[in-house]
């Protein structure tokens, strides 16, 4: 068992954002996090990556409570790609990806061949090698997203959390990114809006609604007409060309 969360609760003021959420993700599998806007997906990812302390409940990595891990130690295991991470600083693509090496380097340590290898591999994985010298401000939204993912990969994490990573991407890069996540073999949790991507690329799905877990299981178990009309308020048809494949078609 790679990551496990038990009865997580998180509140802002009196509003409960994450309400008694438990989950577990097997080593090397991909969990899709679904739910309408405001269902608590981003907040849950922040709790799981230790950026916020839950009001109650706990998160464990291989049975070690992350509340007792040092920040740097945690950052060598867990990488997070946030939804809106912007900057005014005039950095290059390569400088951003190099930030991913921060948890692996001491305050004064020199740059090592291992650091170079991690950065190069990460740039290749997101297909941004030829962009390395580009300025951040000159990139499109999708290119920025891929740089953030490269930065996370340069951390060489065991667990990778992504908050709506396919936002801003064209369809080619959406599919490539989802394939990449599936191929990496990292324990991943991906907040998603695209139900077809969830069906195609995730091993399991967890559906949140107003901070609570309303469904948890394989895509075939979770993605039912009843759930989609109950949680997402949409009517749809299911198209199953074969055992492995599920296409969700939305009605007008």
């Amino acid at each position: 068992m790679s990551i496990r969360a038990e009865n997580l609760v998180w509140r802002v003021g009196r509003k409960t954002i994450v309400d008694n959420v438990s989950l577990r993700v097997e080593q090397g599998s991909v969990l899709g996090l679904l739910g309408p806007n405001g269902s608590g997906k981003s907040s849950l990812l922040r709790l799981l990556s230790g950026l916020r302390r839950p009001a109650s409940g706990r998160v464990t990595l291989d049975d070690a409570d992350i509340a007792h891990m040092g920040r740097r130690h945690l950052a060598r295991r867990v990488a997070l790609v946030q939804q809106h991470a912007a900057t005014d600083v005039n950095v290059t693509v390569e400088e951003v990806v190099r930030l991913g090496r921060t948890p692996h380097r001491g305050p004064l340590a020199a740059w090592t061949p291992a650091d170079t290898l991690a950065v190069e591999t990460a740039l290749q994985q997101v297909d941004m090698v030829e962009f390395r010298g580009e300025r951040w401000q000159s990139l499109s939204g999708g290119e920025r997203q891929r740089v953030h993912i490269a930065r996370a990969l340069a951390q060489q994490p065991h667990e990778l959390f992504l908050d709506e990573p396919t936002n801003h991407l064209d369809i080619q890069h959406q599919l490539e990114l989802m394939r990449l996540i599936a191929r990496l073999g990292l324990t991943s949790i991906v907040a998603l809006h695209d139900l077809n991507h969830a069906a195609m690329f995730c091993d399991r799905l967890l559906v949140l609604d107003r901070g609570r877990v309303v469904a948890d299981g394989t895509p075939a178990e979770v993605l039912t007409p009843e759930l989609l009309s109950g949680v997402f308020r949409v009517e749809c048809d299911f198209h199953r060309p074969d055992e492995q494949t599920l296409h969700i078609l939305f009605r007008k």
């Binding site: 950026l51 740097r72 990488a79 946030q82 991470a85 005014d88 005039n90 400088e95 951390q155």
Partner: protein
């Protein structure tokens, strides 16, 4: 990539060497000018005499003017410029605000209140010097900001707003004291001190400032990589393994102590801490491992040059240094504002 990196390193080395050369020349020039003009050669010989390397024949008066009065003043100016520029660079990164500068945490306003408390109200009954009063006032303002912003936990915006509140409060206190109980001469003294002056600084000030700066630079370089990690904000820094709150508190405290030390010695000299970091970033990029030392060198050069200008514009009179740095700084500031426009 190798080539690109080594080019950046070369630029950095070139900037350091060039500013070091200019600094040495500027300090020598600053020592030479004044009511008694002294040629550069004599300045150099007086310094080497002092270290016992040469025994050139220089009049005792010249040697004393050079060593006891002017060299210490020029070197204090250099250290002040270095300290303010470094603090500005750190605060701009930490607060993620291009317009942040060393006084953004209310430090100069606090120092002015401390200074008028000593000069006009006579707090400490003569046992407390103006510098000590200003230092205490500056730290009081910093503590006020630290408490108001929840120890920096409330994020950059809340810290900046707390600094604005502190500056308003302490400036109001200063103005109140000056208008209600100050006589005209005392008010003028305070004004003059606030605008900044290197008159009266000697070796003891240099030694204290050098110790504070060496210690401050060490702490800041130790945290340089952490500052880089703040590029995309607090959460991004935290997810890269930075103990965000601890780093923030340490760096705020270090910049506050450096700034308070400088303000208590020479008054609040504006714009160096705002403009120099932007110029240096433009030249060598945003990485703090290089940015911080480079800012110190360029800040030192800028301040010594400003001091030369302030002493040579008007015969027999020294312009307050704050006026000179502002006159140079405001056009630069306008340029930054213009460049920072949101893209149409």
């Amino acid at each position: 990539m190798r080539i690109a990196l080594s080019r950046a390193t070369a630029r950095f080395a070139l900037l350091l060497l060039a500013s070091l050369a200019v600094l040495v020349l500027a300090v020598a020039t600053a020592v030479g000018i004044g009511e008694m003009r002294i040629p550069l050669r004599t300045v150099a010989l007086a310094v080497t005499n002092q270290f016992g390397w040469t025994s050139a024949d220089i009049s005792r008066i010249q040697a004393s003017v050079i060593w006891d009065l002017r060299l210490s003043r020029a070197l204090v100016a250099a250290l002040c410029g270095a300290g303010l520029a470094m603090c500005g660079a750190i605060l701009q990164s930490l607060l993620r605000n291009a317009l942040a500068e060393p006084y953004v945490l209310g430090i100069s306003a606090g120092a002015s209140t401390g200074a008028v408390a000593v000069i006009i109200l006579g707090v400490g009954a003569g046992a407390v010097s103006l510098s000590m009063g200003a230092f205490a006032g500056a730290l009081a303002a910093f503590v006020f900001v630290a408490v108001l912003s929840g120890g920096g936990r409330g994020g950059a915006d809340r810290t900046i707003l707390s600094g604005v509140a502190a500056a308003q409060l302490f400036n109001a206190l200063t103005a109140y004291v000056v208008t209600t109980s100050g006589n005209a001469q005392q008010a003028r003294d305070v004004m003059f001190w606030l605008l900044g002056s290197f008159g009266g600084v000697r070796w003891p000030e240099f030694q204290l400032l050098a110790v504070v700066l060496v210690f401050g630079l060490a702490v800041c370089v130790w945290h340089a990589r952490a500052l880089d990690a703040f590029t995309f904000g607090d959460d991004a820094a935290a997810s890269l393994g930075i103990a965000v709150e601890r780093v923030r508190v340490i760096l705020f405290a270090v910049t506050a102590v450096i700034t308070a030390t400088i303000v208590s010695m020479v008054g609040s000299i504006g714009f160096v801490g705002l403009v120099v970091p932007h110029a240096v970033r433009f030249l060598i990029g945003p990485g703090h491992m290089r940015l911080l030392p480079a800012c110190m060198m360029v800040g030192a050069v800028f301040m010594v040059l400003a001091d030369i200008v302030s002493r040579s514009v008007m015969a027999q009179q020294t312009l307050p240094i704050g006026i000179v740095t502002a006159l140079v700084g405001v056009p630069c500031f306008s340029l930054i504002l213009y460049r920072a426009r949101p893209a149409a």
